[in-house]
């Protein structure tokens, strides 16, 4: 049975609310002439942690005014495994495979940084042959990392085709890794003091074949995107960051270079065998998403150049230096950093003279670069947040460690 009075009361209530709404709107209109009632609504929404465009478990809390981003806050730590704590309970060589699990798309770079840091602490140097093999594999890994970045970044923005191309070609790099050390992703390719594995039969031939195969492919990606009108409109002027802001925020890698700073650790403080090779540091001018794309494309070509030079003249000789089985570095501290595909990857290791490191601190490029996200997306649109997360090229395994 319907209670008549209830309905009547509801109707009256609604009228009063409507009246109140009109009052409030007019009040707002008096205050802010340029804003309609709907525009002035601030909205807090969550992007992630389960969102395909955040490249892993990143949660970004967005404060929105309509489509406009007023501010963001990143919530990270979903993949925190306590890598630095684990290091204190493992010997120097036992910790080596763990570093591969940080930036898992560039595991070879992580391993190189760690091995070189411990070598520095032990005061040994890898033999020339090992250093050349290291350069070749690290640059191949940079290619693989940039290819994965390009595919997923383009997919986020709406270009689906590059993903298939880049994954197809990245597979060739992984095949070389697999043949060299048995693993495709978390390779554990290097050991402290050099390399464990000698190059396999036909390694140089296969790498050369890969270079011939991949050079036209990079042009192919560029044909798809560089002058594509949709791509240009989605990336040009989006997520701008100036050189000064980059330096203040500690941002490194391609993001810094796209803002016009010609700085690359491979040139500034050469490690491994990089001093022997001739290559350029590509830079951009505008510091926007489009320039970062161009810089990374150029970087891929430079990596090919380095590999091409290295593969022709791998010196003969031992592949591993004389390193004691039980490593006990003298008491002291060391900081060593390399140019990983994402930026400066540093290891700060404290030794207390025992077989286990007293403290290992990893300076992850993704973690520091992600800090710039807030500054880059303020005032932009929600769709640009996706583009900026993609262009920062973060790997959450490394952000959270």
């Amino acid at each position: 049975m319907i209670d008549r009075t209830m309905i009547d009361r509801t109707v009256t209530d609604r009228t009063t609310t409507d009246q109140a709404m009109t009052d409030r709107t007019s009040h707002l209109e008096l205050e802010q002439h340029d804003k309609t009632f709907l525009d002035s609504n601030e909205l807090i929404i969550n992007m992630g942690p389960q969102h395909p465009a955040t490249h892993g478990v990143l949660r970004v809390i967005l404060k929105l005014d309509g489509e406009k981003v007023l501010g963001t806050e990143c919530v990270i730590g979903y993949l925190h495994r306590g890598v630095e704590k684990i290091a204190e309970h493992r010997t120097y060589s036992m910790f080596n495979p763990y570093v591969d699990r940080m930036d898992y798309v560039a595991a070879v770079s992580n391993g190189l940084g760690y091995c070189e840091a411990v070598e520095k602490l032990l005061n040994v140097e890898a033999p020339p042959r090992a250093r050349y093999i290291r350069v070749i594999l690290t640059e191949l890994n940079r290619l693989a990392s940039h290819m994965l970045w390009l595919g997923t970044h383009a997919l986020d923005i709406g270009a689906i085709t590059p993903l298939f191309y880049t994954f197809r070609d990245r597979e060739e790099v992984l095949k070389i890794f697999e043949k060299y050390c048995g693993a495709r992703l978390t390779t554990h390719a290097f050991r402290i003091g050099g390399c464990l594995y000698e190059t396999y039969e036909g390694f140089e031939r296969e790498v050369k074949k890969f270079l011939d195969f991949v050079t036209p492919k990079i042009n192919e990606y560029e044909e798809l995107l560089t002058t594509n009108r949709i791509w240009v409109e989605r990336t040009k002027g989006v997520g701008k960051i100036s050189a000064k802001e980059c330096v203040a925020l500690g941002v490194t890698g391609p993001v810094l270079r796209a803002s016009g700073v010609k700085w690359d650790l491979r040139k500034a403080q050469p490690y491994a065998a990089y001093a022997d090779f001739d290559f350029e540091i590509p830079t951009g001018q505008n510091g926007d998403t489009y320039d970062r794309y161009l810089v990374r494309m150029q970087e891929m070509r430079q990596s090919l150049r380095i590999i091409d030079q290295a593969v022709g003249k791998i010196p003969e000789g031992p592949i591993i230096a004389k390193v004691p089985k039980v490593m006990k570095p003298a008491v002291g501290e060391i900081y060593h950093s390399i140019e990983a595909p994402k930026g400066e990857l540093g290891y700060f290791i404290v030794s207390d003279g025992s077989t286990q490191p007293y403290r290992v601190r990893v300076r992850p490029p993704s973690f520091v670069n992600l800090q710039a996200l807030d500054m880059m997306v303020r005032g932009a649109l929600v769709a640009d947040v996706i583009a900026v997360i993609g262009t920062l090229d973060i790997v959450l395994g490394e952000v959270d460690r």
Binding site: G77, E84, A248, G250, V261, W263, I334, Y335, V368
Partner: protein, 158 residues
């Protein structure tokens, strides 16, 4: 540079080098002023990292480390200071905005407070977590059992 700084600050600074890497051990009271000078006058414009090391047997338990780099000189330097457990350190966010997350991580992992930090809270661990895992007295399999039981519903807390 070091002699210049030493002339100015006296015995509060001790400069050293190990395996070709320079570092300065500095008295905690000089830190904010010295870091400002390093950035403004010595062109160390890029703060690479802020981290800490725990020595539980020492009276001043923590080593706080700032790693700086200068694009101009292509040079790296480490600045170290010792602080006691419970004491707070000056925040350098006003000097290098990059310090924001790095200091939050040090606070999260070691429980060191930073004075003047705009938003000092945990960054990698959840907000309600008890304990600071990178302290030496925190066991490797130790967890905040209460938090795990309440938030993850795991009875054993592991």
């Amino acid at each position: 540079m070091v002699t210049r700084l030493k002339g100015h600050y006296g015995s509060g600074i001790e400069a050293n080098s190990y395996l070709g890497q320079n570092f300065m051990a500095v008295d905690a009271s000089l830190i904010p002023e010295l870091l400002q000078v390093l950035r403004d006058q010595e062109q160390f414009d890029y703060l690479v990292d802020v981290t800490a090391v725990h020595y539980p047997q020492r009276e001043k338990q923590f080593d706080l480390v700032w790693i700086l780099y200068s694009f101009e000189r292509n040079e790296r330097i480490r600045v170290k200071t010792m602080i006691a457990d419970g004491a707070s350190a000056p925040s350098v966010v006003a000097i290098w905005p990059a310090a924001n997350w790095l200091e939050r991580e040090v606070y999260d992992m070691f429980g060191i407070q930073f004075d003047g930090h705009p938003d000092l809270k945990r960054i990698l661990l959840p907000d309600g977590w008890k304990g600071h895992p990178l302290r030496k007295d925190y066991g490797i399999i130790q967890q905040d059992q209460e938090w795990v039981q309440i938030n993850l519903g795991i009875e054993s807390g592991q």
